[in-house]
Symmetry: C2
Subunit: 432 residues, 2 copies
């Protein structure tokens, strides 16, 4: 009823911040989501869109025409605007750009010209720059002429007359400096500007490593292009970390938790389809040993143990490597050490669990041969899993294939195949 709706609308537009509304939309199933979105006041729509996940945002954007879009996007910062435009069809982008004034259009086109996942795609153009030879007092008076400063302004950027980056002037330092000192005397020259083409994950590493709030972005000639702020970097960090987790289950990090049934079904089908192929691969290995299994049915009972232990051991190595690569700890220098460590640790555990499992198997089936076979198969499968788990992500990365997405599937297929092959193969040999 409309009374309840009015109340919801009042709460939405009065009591909640745009980010709260976005969170509420992201936490709602499709029907409620559309209902809520229609209640959001036009003037907040743009702000709310900025905080939404890609998947959901793309949907709402697709419902708007170019005029509505242009109106909503008026107050966007250039980096957010570019992000958002990149999700639209080219014709719509052109329409939206056409409604803008020249200066705004130029800014957006500038940011649009850089790939989304580089420093250029992350940067804003709302920098406040000063020259090195003026005094702090002049800087203070210059700032006072502003009605407000861009959000996340923790430092001014010092440039020469060719707009080339020279240094930064933290505003906390501005506040404690002698007003008669020059910018050059007070500025910080330790911060390296970020090259416009640097991948966004590398940008995140720099922010984390040097505890930055904002950092200048320059082109190859050292000319200042804009600045990157920590709020956008936090999104990169979150996405980056989410990416590994979600990819390992064949999901997308932008996946809408409340995607409709049909969309979910289609996306998941792809992953299940890949798994059908790998599952039949493993099955065909078992099929090679039908006679042996008929002779000793206990093999069918025990064979999943060999496969799954290999999978578990390999997944641990693989996950450690994927994380290590993501945070930049793993490189050519230390792979040999890592491979060695993983091999030794897994081999020791392989021997330990070979004893445990074969002991249990012998006790269960009263057959010493089956104990010997499963012990050998376990050691083979676990040590091989450690080698594959260590090297596979590096090989995939070299081939430009995402290790988090493809690594698990390939590893588990390998441990299944090797597990069944070694166990049933050895059994065929010993029982023949």
């Amino acid at each position: 009823d409309s009374g309840a709706l009015k109340q919801v609308s009042r709460i939405l537009n009065g009591g909640l911040s745009p980010s709260d509304i976005a969170h509420l939309l992201e936490s709602s199933p499709p029907r409620q989501r559309t209902l809520l979105w229609n209640l959001v006041d036009k003037k907040y729509e743009g702000d709310v869109l900025q905080y939404l996940g890609d998947d959901i945002r793309a949907y709402f954007l697709s419902q708007l025409n170019a005029q509505e879009l242009a109106h909503i996007l008026e107050d966007f910062e250039s980096d957010d605007l570019a992000d958002l435009l990149q999700q639209l069809p080219d014709t719509v982008i052109q329409e939206v750009l056409n409604t803008m004034d020249d200066q705004d259009r130029q800014r957006v086109e500038e940011v649009l010209s850089y790939p989304e996942d580089t420093a250029g795609g992350l940067m804003n153009t709302d920098t406040i720059t000063v020259r090195p030879d003026i005094s702090i007092d002049v800087v203070l008076r210059y700032l006072r002429r502003h009605r407000n400063l861009p959000t996340m302004t923790d430092s001014l950027i010092v440039v020469n007359r060719r707009d080339e980056f020279i240094g930064t002037l933290p505003i906390t330092r501005l506040l404690v400096s002698n007003p008669t000192a020059t910018v050059r005397e007070v500025m910080d020259t330790e911060i390296e500007p970020i090259p416009v083409g640097l991948p966004d994950t590398k940008v995140a590493t720099l922010f984390e490593r040097y505890d930055l709030i904002s950092a200048p972005v320059v082109d190859e000639q050292g000319k200042l292009l804009g600045r990157i702020t920590i709020d956008d970097v936090v999104d990169v960090i979150r996405d980056d970390a989410d990416h590994s987790l979600m990819s390992m289950a064949g999901l997308d990090e932008d996946e809408d938790t409340f995607a409709p049934v049909w969309k979910t079904t289609r996306r998941r089908a792809v992953w299940l389809g890949i798994n059908v192929v790998t599952a039949f691969t493993s099955a065909s290995v078992i099929g090679m040993f039908e006679e042996t299994i008929q002779q000793v049915v206990a093999l069918a009972v025990l064979m999943p143990i060999v496969a799954s232990m290999g999978g578990i051991a390999g997944s641990q190595t693989l996950t450690l490597m994927i994380r290590g690569i993501a945070v930049g700890q793993v490189s050519g220098d230390n792979i040999k050490w890592l491979l060695n460590r993983e091999f030794l640790a897994t081999a020791m555990n392989g021997v330990l669990f070979a004893l445990v499992v074969s002991g249990a198997a012998v006790a269960w089936f009263g057959d010493l041969t089956i104990g010997l076979v499963i012990a050998l198969a376990l050691v083979i499968n676990l040590t091989l899993a450690s080698v594959v788990g260590t090297l596979l992500p590096l090989v995939l990365k070299k081939l430009n294939i995402d290790p988090a997405l493809a690594g698990g599937v390939i590893l588990l297929t390998t441990t299944d195949v090797v597990g069944f092959l070694s166990f049933l193969g050895l059994a065929t040999y010993f029982y023949a």
Copy 2:
């Protein structure tokens, strides 16, 4: 040779920042790590320790005596110091605290009194506070008396004479305000202070949602206790996201990538040990059907397909839920919708892949019955996987068990057991 060592030492202590050195240590195998650490200049040791992961830091700390520790820890911020002390044995903590002067000790004891994973454990006590009734001009003159302001000072905190939080005064606003205005007229009262007991992941959500750089922390009476800065929050976000990824493979998010062989072997053995138990559980299910398998060996060939398809489908649901819970999107209101969606999407895929797999099985073994059995078993296992994948993380959370750590093991055991039971059970029925 000592010439090379001297050169490395020069590079370490001259050209690299403490965070770079920390990254280098984290990326080095144990022997090189110790060698490098010994080359780090005493005066940088403290800074480097701050940037190291928990695991590695604990090791280096254990090598120092209380006196050396106290010396190194002199310049630490109270939150970092508290973090670090929490890793030490109680007797060493006391020794270190005894070497401090009263004021410092009090600060550290204050932060130590809050759990590490709450706002209290994250906060610094280095706030700059001002009263509401003074003028901006007075604030500016007060600030100028400082030699420098604490890092990440983006706003001053406005308190009354009982030290109770009233508002914040962003320094960007300070710079553009009329000097004769009072703090009260200019300050921001929209920011809610953070309660000292708020869990750190909730703190991170607030920072992400409101794009904060720093935020005040208060006790139950609204008294200002300190402030939290974005650099520490970024660590929480990174750890939090890493936690899900690493836990799902039974690893710790603080896991040292270059942990020595022996330590790695012991830690991994625990996880493999758990898996041995679950693997034998699944095996015992197969063991119930030895006779049927002997009769129709094709069952042994195909049974891993049913188990693994269930595992894949369930893992996708589980991962989506774990992420949804972690970012606070999943709650009592929408579980029903989610369960429904997961059930429908998985059931549809279940039917689709039942057709695909049974078609392939019939073609392979020329046996219509086996096609029927595997189709039914797949639909049963997949739909059940979707229900378990959705509800399990919620149940575990209620029981205070980490869904990321335990969810995967329980889910995969379930899909194995149900997969084998339904497939072999149905086969026994149809072939009897």
